[in-house]
Symmetry: C2
DNA sequence: CGAGGCTACTAATGCGGTTTAGCTCATGTC
DNA sequence: GACATGAGCTAAACCGCATTAGTAGCCTCG
């Protein structure tokens, strides 16, 4: 193969410097370099400084593979998203979460391994493989479920992990970062109650997810407390299609609600579209609340009242807890800041006619 | 620290099996195991089969660090997203792209390292660090710009890479996967022209991006060819806010257009909201086209005519090209399937009054 | 029948770090 | 002045795999 015809040929790139190079230039042994660069005792301050200077000069960075092989850290944490491909990408939640996670990880030079899979079985398989390959030091786990198999698996593998979204069940060595969905639901209902709504429907997300269950339960409890009569939750898969479908069914029922709470922004927007389609005035004849704020909620007409969460802050919190755990910290359960309701134009008093 | 009080303590997890374990169980040397498991010659079929069985039994997986250290592959590719945190997460483009990328990578057991940074300088720093740490074998690069510094950097580092979105400039060793934005813009304009529109505005994306420039140029060319009179492009940052703002300015001008083409779905939806706000009928008084389809385009009222691209297919194509390059394939420039227009309810003939 | 060649395997080395054991020399102690 | 001590450094082993350089045994052939 001639150099000029080989598509993959290129000028030899600069060689990566190693601690051996540093040792030679600084006139010390490789071990001294390792000690100095890792801040361990065994080298004088003078030598230490000299080694640091040389390393800087050479632009040395530790070879992550070598470090992972000898030390026990790979400098990498993982995040798996189990979602069928077609439901991906509409919600802003994940990218925001990830951007928060990154902020914290990047500061500590920890990389994030990301994988999208079809279902939870595939997700578990990924954890097993990552563990066997020693690819990650720990993982962030999203979408906790009621009766979730993952904590047990992660525990048995000894993979340090942080669950994002629901408090831990049982005695697992899994930290948790969660938001108080119950209190949030209570604040949404309080808002609607004050406006005069007595008949509210909750278009919920996937039934298996822990936070869905918590929201549904909270809805029941609050309804009892406030003395609301007709309330119920309708499960969906979070897609715009099912959100619209659920809205149609609910509006077609004998006693349609005066307000609907949607478990994500996409479904809420779909709900607005269905109302528009039928000539139902929002908020005059129907009030709408979206769980999770995003640009979406601001581009509809009317703009949507939404439950605002600091999603990227949530990500930061989770990443910090994971790093703390990797540093030997205890298993903890951390609660994120309580979401607050941002009233906009999609909620108002119900029309007296109904 | 006593075991029972140590939060991080846990039952010793199963030890990872190594090729040494396999060698012992199979009664051969470690090298024989390595040969057998990597499909190299030097072992008889019988021994090969036996080794494979033992490896299977033990649930062996290659330690990625060890492999990266001895072989030259890390089994990992990278993707950096340079976006200010607040503009993240609204577009469906990236998650869809990533999900396509994953499909291909997962099949080959290649991991994806993902990073979100603020700007292109930080992006370049990440490439340098990844290279120095030998963390990735190659990278996928998104959001190509006119006058992009990244191909040169990647080339000098010798980091195998695939640009997603624009054909390569110059003589860089960088493959490209791109869509024909010019032809796509032409098809959008043809559609509007046939409906009778002669005055079209293009609410474009970020001015520095290569595909933005291509779309703008194509708009000019086509306008000349079709004999459209008043046409122009307005740059934005892709956000709903700027999309709405641009729409207001355009509608307030002396000669408002009869149709607007938006460079992404979010801005198009924002445009619909502005029209609704002002009581302008869509498509009666204003036709709207969104570049990129998503759930968003289907939940508005009316539903939006959109330019549909197979985004996850795009991701698959890019990932395949990257793997091919890593296997020694030549630098190529691949064109993705031409986007097609999906006419929905937001486009129609212009009102004669205008 | 011995040289040469092939097959099937083993031993040894290296990748780039970390870590343990050991070594040298100056210092303090009684 | 003999001896323990500790600071400051080096040599060597090791992590788990890939790879190169053998080596032993068998077959072929002049």
């Amino acid at each position: 193969m001639t150099p000029q015809s080989d598509g993959a040929a290129r000028a030899t790139p600069a060689r990566r410097p190693t601690i051996k190079d540093i040792a030679r230039r600084a006139g010390v042994s490789e071990s001294a370099v390792s000690f100095a660069l890792n801040g361990r005792p065994g080298v004088s301050q003078g030598t230490r400084d000299r080694i640091h200077r040389v390393a800087e000069d050479l632009g040395w960075q530790p070879n992550s593979a070598a470090r992972a092989l000898s030390g026990e850290r790979s400098g990498c944490v993982g995040l798996v998203l189990a979602r069928p491909a077609h439901t991906l990408g509409v919600e802003s939640f994940f990218l925001q979460l990830v951007s928060g996670v990154q902020e914290v990880l990047a500061a500590r030079k920890v990389a994030l391994l990301f994988q999208v899979v079809e279902d939870i079985e595939a997700e578990c398989a990924v954890y097993k493989r990552w563990w066997a390959e020693k690819r990650v030091d720990g993982v962030l786990v999203v979408d906790p479920r009621s009766d979730d198999p993952r904590p047990e698996l992660l525990d048995s593998l000894g993979l340090t992990s942080v669950m994002i979204g629901a408090p831990a069940e049982g005695e697992r060595q899994v930290s948790t970062v969660w938001a108080d969905d119950s209190a949030a639901m209570a604040s949404v209902l309080a808002h609607l109650y004050e406006l005069g709504h007595r008949h509210v429907v909750h278009v919920a997300g996937l039934p298996g997810l822990a936070h869905t269950e918590r929201r549904i339960n909270s809805l029941r409890t609050q309804a009892g407390r406030l003395g609301l009569t007709a309330i119920r939750s309708v499960p969906t898969d979070y897609s715009d299609a099912e959100g619209a479908e659920a809205t149609r069914r609910v509006l077609d029922s004998d006693a349609p609600p005066t307000a609907i709470v949607y478990d994500n922004d996409v479904m809420a927007v779909a709900g607005v579209a269905v109302a528009a389609e039928r000539g139902i005035k929002v908020p005059g004849e129907l009030s709408i609340v979206a769980w999770d704020d995003s640009a979406l909620c601001r581009v509809t007409h009317p703009r949507l009242t939404a439950l605002v969460r600091d999603t990227s802050g949530f990500g930061r919190l989770a990443a910090e807890e994971l790093l703390a755990r990797l540093d030997g910290g205890p298993v903890r359960s951390l609660q994120a800041e309580l979401p607050h309701l941002e009233p906009r134009e999609s909620t108002g008093p119900p029309s007296s006619g109904r």
